[in-house]
Every structure is written in structure tokens, then in C-alpha cells.
Amino acid sequence: MLAFIIKRLANAVFVMLSVTFLAFVIFTAVGDPVDQMLNEQATQAQRDDLRERLGLDDPFLVQYTKFVGRAAQGDFGISFRNQRDVLDMIAERFPATFELVLVATFISLIVGVPMGVITAIRRQSWYAEAMQFTSIIGVSLPSFVVGIGLILVFSVWLGWFPAFGRGDTVDLGWWSTGLLTPSGRMSIVLPALSLSLFQITLVMRLVRAEMLEVLRSDFIKFARARGVPARRLHFSHALRNCLMPVVTMTAMQIGGLIAFALVTETVFQWPGMGLLFIQAVTFVDVPIMAAYLCIVALIFVVLNAIVDMTYAVIDPRLKGADA
């Protein structure tokens, strides 16, 4: 048990080291920071002086160690483009992305779970087959095309929802939320829908597969024989036994959604950290790119590690295994 947790943590640390290494390679590969920080007329002496101060003369590994040390303290340097502290810029944008992901996850559970249950208990009906068919399409549709389609129909043609931006926001200390204002709530509908579509199909397929498995088990047959009404049988007895994997997958997907939100944020010009990243890519603003990569990977890795470890605690079958 303890060995498993230590192994899992070591793995997470290894992944993070590799990610920071990748970020650092990008950092050093794209252009010489000295050229970007000094103007054309700088003398060789000034250049050498700056090199010395930035530690660019150190061996590669020393530079990398320093980079990791600074990154661990949240110091990713300043943006090349607007000379601000990178971590501050990302922290400013984080609430927007997080609210978007949260609402999208909520939608996917509210819609996906009932759809999964229905397709499992009415397997032969036409609407279950129709849902199953739509789910293949839902997995295939590129998220940015879905976003553009939603904008075209609901903003351009019908004019129901705003097509871009976050609406008015309210500052709650360091967190700015758009969920408390009417325009903020209207603005989040389309982006959250487009981000959740893929998620809905995932949840639906998972719930369906789990339900089919549980419905075959003895305790369900026994409950049915005892005369438990169908509705209670399906939603209270069977569904409860399917929820564990759904919760796990939702937790693991949140990391992926935070990363994937950058596509949705680009379509809807949603001022989250994904949009910041894409703009940084366009202007080759390397500190922001590197910091975004490290932060998103950290969220991703930490979530996965927590889920794995919770599983080891909950699921007794993993205790004996030397996984």
C-alpha cells in the first residue's frame, strides 16, 4: 500500500521533471533571450554582462536545475511581450478557465448519466439506438466546429446568446466570477455546451457499459424477483453501483478539459488561460508557453495521482497487487 503510493508519487515527479525539461528545451531553443532584451546598439560588453547575469554561460544541466528550482517556486520570469510577471498573468486568467470547465463537467453529468441509463435499460428501443448512433457522431465532431456551429445558430441567426467574451464579472478577492451576473451566465452557455459535448458522450458510453454489466448481476435478478419496482431497481440499486467509475473518469478528465479548453476559448474568445497561451504561441512569447505547459501538466498529473491513490485506498483488490 505504502509502496504503491510512493511508486505513484515517484512516477508523478518523473513526469513533471520530463515536462519541465521539455519546457526548458523550448525555452532555450527559441531565440536568444539576450537579443530580445537588448536593443540593436548594445555593445558586446553589455551583452556579455547580461549573459553573465542571466546565467546563460552556465552548463546546460546547471541552467536546467536553476529553471526547475525557480519554476517550483512559481517564478517563470516575465513575459517577453508585455513585461509582466508570467505567473500573475496566468493566475488572472485561471478563474475563467476553471469556471468554464466546471460548468461543462456539470452539464456532461446532468445529460450523460440519464442518457447512459436509458440506453442500457431500453437497449432495443429506437430512441436508445438513436442515442447510441448520435454518440458516435458526438465523439467524431471536432470541438471547434461544434463551437462555430453553436455561434452560427444561436448567436448570428437567433441572437439568443452572446458569441464571445465572458460578460460582466464580479471580483471576489482574488477570484473573479462570471456566474453571479446575468450577462456572465448567458455568456458561459455556448462555450460550456461546446466543451461538454465530447464529455457527454464519454459519460453516456461509460454509464451504459457499466449498467449493462450490473444489470446482469445476481443481486439485481434477486431484487427483481422480490418485486422491487423497475424505476427503483434501475435508478437506486443499479445506478449506484455504476457511479464509482463515472466519478473517477470525471475527475481524471478535468485535467484534460482544462488543457482542451484552449480550443473552445479560441473559438469563443473566452478570456481564460488557454486563450492567453494561444496568443503567446502566435507571438512566440516563450515564458508564457513554458509556464502554461508546466501548470497544466501539474494539474493533470496531480489529479491522476490523487485518483489512483484513492483507488488504492478504496479498492481492496489493489492492496495485494504490486501495481
Binding site: 518523473f14 523550448i26 531553443a29 458516435i136 467524431s140 471536432p142 471547434f144 462555430i148 480550443v263 494561444i278
Partner: protein, 312 residues
């Protein structure tokens, strides 16, 4: 090898039409539909120079007074611009046909590269084990623990910085192929490795090794054919995924440039005119992309079920 000429032995084609796979295909309406649609899309894309009314790369053929014409069934639509034109007077249909061709080529190339790398490394990891296995699988773990889109965006945008202007045209496509393949080889490598570890211990491999068959031949001729079924399914589904990732990268502006547009680039460009009323510039390439990916995924879905022995 006299068996091949023996009249009782069915030919390859006969064996194929007699197989379970063909039977399953014939009885799946959605698989047949998807295959027909996919074939039409691919044929149309590769016949683009013949079929399309205009060469979208030929700047001299563009006339500015043809700009932003709506599709033919609306007021102001003109022949030969069936689906209308964009702001430079470029025919949308021609752009889509050429764009689909680029998307498909990048998809196929990235699947081919990742298959080659994945199968090769998977065989080595499974056959030799030891440190090779450890190193390869750790690298795979790391790649799978970072979101795909992010890696692809970074690789593609950073690598494009290094392309000299002369190589830009051909280089961008190659960079995209590598950025997509960099992630997907892991899946093939894992499958091949697991299967190789099982096959390696079987008697036919041991016997073949005893008579002195070299390791390379053992891996390629004896072990590899027994690992191909799951690889085939994964490759089909990954083809759809590769087209999607390429489109997403192009849409985000780190993929194909506007002078060599793939479907994603067309959608990116068209997206700027969403609010000006010229909805056809963005809508038709989007529809084409969806048709392409849905058809590939439906075929892959059917293939996965048809080749799964548990569902027989």
C-alpha cells in the same frame, strides 16, 4: 509454395470474400454507408484537379468581382461556384476538395509514421525486454501523461520557427505529421509489446529460434503477423483522430498556412467572416470535415466490434 497454384486452394480474393469480416461488413448497414461515403470523399479529393472548377492555388484565376458570392441556390449565386466564393473570389468547393486532399495526406502520413515507429519499438521492447523495454515504456508513460493537443501545438509551433523560408512549404506538413505521430506511436508500441511478450514464449517461436532464424526475421515474419489485428483497429481510429488533430492545429493557427489550406485552415479563415453574413465560407468546410471524420470513426467502430473475438 506449390499450394498457391493448387486449384483447390482459394485465391486471396476468394478467401477475403469468404471471411467472417466480409460477412460482418455486408450485414452492417452503417459500415457499408460509412465505407461508401469515405470512398466518395477520398476519390473526390484525389481527383480535385479534374473535378474542381478552379485551381485555388492559381492567384491569376481569382477575380475580385467574384468575391463573397453565395451558394448557387441563393440569390446572387453564379455558375460555376456551386458553394459560393470567399473574400478573394476563391471557389469554396474547389478549396474544400484540395483541402480535403491535404488533410487526408497528412492523416495517412502520420498514421504511417507512427505505425512504423510504434511497431518497431514495440517489437524490440517486447522481444528483448530489459532496459530497452524500461526506457521505451517510461517515455510512453510521460507522453501519455501530458494532454495531446498541448504537445502537438508546442512541437508544431516551435519546429516551424526553425524552418528556413525555402523549406517552409514542404516543411510545415512534415512538422505536422511528426507532431501528430509523436503521440500516437505509444499506443501501437504498447499493444505490440504486450503481444510480443506472449508470442515470444510460444513453441513455434522457440523452435524457429533453435534452427537459427535471426532475431530480425523472427520478429518481422513470425511474431508481427500475430499482433496485427488490434493494430489494424487502432490505426483506423487513429486516422480519424489524426485528421481531427491536424484540423484543430490548423484552426488554432499552428498548422497549414493559408496558401496551402487544409480543411482546418479553411475553417480558420472562414471563421473571420462569421458575423459578416458570409456563413458559407465557414460552414461547408466544417461539414466536409465532420463527414470525413464521422465516416472514418464509424468504420473503425464497426471494425473493432467485428474483430473482437469476445463479441462473436
Amino acid at each position: 509454395m506449390t499450394d498457391r497454384t493448387d486449384p483447390k486452394m482459394p485465391s486471396r480474393a476468394e478467401r477475403f470474400f469468404d471471411s467472417d469480416l466480409w460477412w460482418s461488413f455486408k450485414s452492417h448497414k452503417s459500415a457499408i454507408g460509412a465505407a461508401i461515403v469515405l470512398a466518395l470523399v477520398i476519390v473526390a479529393a484525389f481527383l480535385a484537379p479534374v473535378l474542381s472548377p478552379q485551381d485555388p492555388y492559381d492567384l491569376a484565376a481569382l477575380e475580385l468581382w467574384n468575391a463573397e458570392l453565395p451558394p448557387i441556390w441563393m440569390d446572387g449565386g453564379q455558375m460555376p461556384f456551386l458553394l459560393g466564393t470567399d473574400v478573394q473570389g476563391r471557389d469554396i468547393l474547389s478549396g474544400i476538395l484540395y483541402g480535403t486532399r491535404i488533410s487526408i495526406i497528412i492523416g495517412i502520413a502520420s498514421v504511417a509514421v507512427s505505425l512504423f515507429v510504434g511497431i518497431g519499438l514495440g517489437l524490440m521492447a517486447g522481444y528483448y525486454g530489459g532496459w530497452i523495454d524500461n526506457v521505451l515504456m517510461r517515455i510512453g508513460d510521460v507522453l501519455l501523461s501530458i494532454p495531446i493537443v498541448l504537445v502537438a501545438i508546442l512541437v508544431s509551433s516551435v519546429a516551424q520557427q526553425f524552418l528556413s523560408p525555402a523549406w517552409r512549404e514542404a516543411g510545415v506538413a512534415a512538422v505536422l505529421v511528426l507532431a501528430i505521430a509523436m503521440y500516437s506511436w505509444v499506443q501501437y508500441a504498447r499493444v505490440v509489446r504486450a503481444q510480443t511478450m506472449v508470442e515470444r514464449r510460444k513453441e513455434y517461436v522457440q523452435a524457429s529460434r533453435l534452427v537459427g532464424t535471426p532475431a530480425r526475421r523472427l520478429m518481422l515474419k513470425h511474431i508481427l503477423p500475430n499482433t496485427l489485428t488490434p493494430i489494424f483497429v487502432a490505426a483506423t481510429l487513429n486516422f480519424g483522430l489524426a485528421i481531427l488533430i491536424e484540423a484543430t492545429l490548423s484552426f488554432l493557427g499552428v498548422g497549414m498556412p493559408p496558401n496551402q489550406p487544409s480543411l482546418g485552415t479553411l475553417i480558420r479563415v472562414g471563421n473571420q467572416y462569421l458575423f459578416s453574413g458570409s456563413w458559407w465560407i465557414v460552414l461547408f468546410p466544417s461539414i466536409q470535415l465532420c463527414i470525413l471524420v464521422v465516416a472514418v470513426n464509424m468504420l473503425g467502430d464497426w471494425l473493432r466490434d467485428a474483430l473482437n473475438p469476445k463479441l462473436r
